[in-house]
Symmetry: C2
Subunit: 335 residues, 2 copies
């Protein structure tokens, strides 16, 4: 009863069931007219041989591999994973497989991966960036649809999905205003990041809506690190000792800021409310107190991108940059 060396083919099944391979195929796929009794025999034979249809042969014939390529440049980490999970969800369980390539930020490597993915005849491509800055399009002359997630393509004819950072940051400010905070500062990453600019724009917008000034008079740009958060705490407290809330451009910055503020005698959230960004759980739930933060809904973004790719396979694509809403997660760092 050892398993056969060569896996069983449909020819073996047909022979065992005493029918032609055409009938066997139709029986197994529920197509065409085949008597119930015959169908049963075929299924039994397939079971007995533990027949697994060869996806290669099928794809060669039908032209569709039910496979998509996921091309990332962020080491599949922070942004690639949610997209992957979303993609797996979007296509019915196990219907689509994901071929994963990491370009590691290298354009040459990216080109190479694209070629091998095309060689393998993927049905479509999802390109995931590591920041929300626009990236070069790869869609030119590609025979399959491409969807960009997180980092939009610089070609407006492409389809891109990005988080709506402007609105996300604005939500954070509106939440603080609702809580009665009036002197709100903003600490974020490097100014050349689109994400930093968008979040700053959102903060500014919501402050104007509420008729409030920005505490300290300006956005504090720095880097995306905990260390900068600690430094920024000093800067802010010196510039405006009465500051009662800070919106941070990342959870890392927020974690550092909370720590340094407490060391300077400010209670969080009583004296100083702090909002993070990213909802990176290892940070946002483990700080003391846990962080109110903006979640970019990356899984939804990934799922949406995948669904859109699916639609694009059918020829129904909606070009442009689509901004997906963020979600404010309220924890104990704001009251």
């Amino acid at each position: 009863m050892a398993p056969p060396q060569r896996p069983a083919t449909i020819t073996d099944v047909a022979a065992l069931a005493g029918v032609s391979i055409a009938t066997a195929s139709k029986a197994l796929n529920g197509r065409g007219q085949v008597r119930a009794e015959t169908r049963r025999r075929v299924f039994q034979a397939a079971e007995e041989l533990s027949f697994q249809p060869n996806a290669l042969a099928r794809s060669l014939l039908t032209g569709s591999t039910r496979t998509m390529g996921l091309l990332t440049s962020d080491s599949v980490g922070r942004f690639g994973i949610p997209v992957l999970l979303g993609a797996e969800d979007a296509f019915g369980a196990g219907e689509m497989a994901v071929l994963l390539c990491d370009a590691r930020g290298d354009a040459i490597r990216e080109q190479h991966h694209i070629r091998t993915l095309l060689t393998r005849r993927v049905d479509g491509l999802i390109v995931v960036g590591e920041s929300t800055d626009p990236r070069p399009s790869i869609s030119r002359d590609l025979p399959v649809p491409v969807v960009y997630a997180y980092a939009p393509s610089d070609d407006p004819d492409d389809v891109s999905f990005v988080p709506d950072d402007v609105d996300g940051a604005a939500q954070a400010v509106r939440h603080l205003v609702t809580l009665g905070r009036r002197r709100i500062a903003h600490v974020t990453g490097p100014q050349h990041y689109q994400a930093a600019q968008d979040r700053a724009a959102g903060v500014t917008l919501a402050l104007e809506e509420a008729g409030l000034p920005m505490s300290g008079g300006q956005v504090l740009y720095g880097v995306w690190s905990q260390r900068w958060g600690r430094q920024a705490a000093e800067v802010i407290l010196r510039a405006d000792p009465e500051v009662d809330a800070v919106v941070c451009g990342s959870d890392q910055i927020a974690a550092g800021l909370v720590e340094a503020a407490r060391e300077r005698g400010r209670r969080v959230p009583e004296d100083l409310a702090v909002v993070g960004y990213d909802n990176w759980e290892v940070l946002s739930t483990e700080t003391r107190p846990p962080l109110t933060t903006v979640d970019m809904n990356l899984e939804v973004l990934g799922r949406t991108a995948a669904q859109h790719l699916f639609a694009a396979l059918g020829g129904r694509a909606t070009p442009g940059v689509h901004r997906l809403p963020c979600r404010l997660v309220i924890r104990e760092s704001t009251v």
Copy 2:
């Protein structure tokens, strides 16, 4: 000069070059005898049509897809990524592709993924676990080789690669002993984790080597969180106020412990040296001071697993659980 609707096949290339498809194939693959002049013509034709050989057809014929499945249960996160990167490195650039599936800890889903991977005729499988606890084997009757990474298979005939946690923890202790520390405590995660047991065993072993007692008299088991690290700091300082070093079972625990110890007036590293575990950079480099920690070399582990899978494809497998060395990364939390 619009790109052709249907991608060019080798037949098209052969026709354009004025040779048979057999000759075209041999010319392109550098096999068989074909005149230099002919080869040139074929290459030129392929270039002109931007011919990409159809990997499906090739695989169907040769029986090898140059694809491996990566099956994870940790949402591809902490452990799956390094393995993926290592695997990509191990096979020459772009030679092998990785088909990625996430079972999300669900056995049913795992079975399903295995079936679809087999249907797609992967050449081999790497199974990545989310802890170092042994997991059920899936290799029974599978027609392709399987290698387990991080979580070993419970079948000793399978091939598994795990970090050598016993030695990793021992390294940490030996380092502290070298620095002159004499009252060393150990705080780690839940006792039912193999990782917690192994690390505790390593600490115990190295303390015995040095003829030192364990500060506090026993290992402190808890959970893998920053919060537990903070609690543990109190426990330790109460149990042995003279404690001068702590080995932690994770960077998260270490981060919490450092924070709480400093609040209780202990300087790190002068009064209390702290070692973490994992070298999870978002924590280990951002704490104050940055953490000395044990790096499990997950990328090396992934690469090794992939290389071994490659060897197994050629029939050369070395069954058993292979323990790979960890590496102590020294930063400022120990002096």
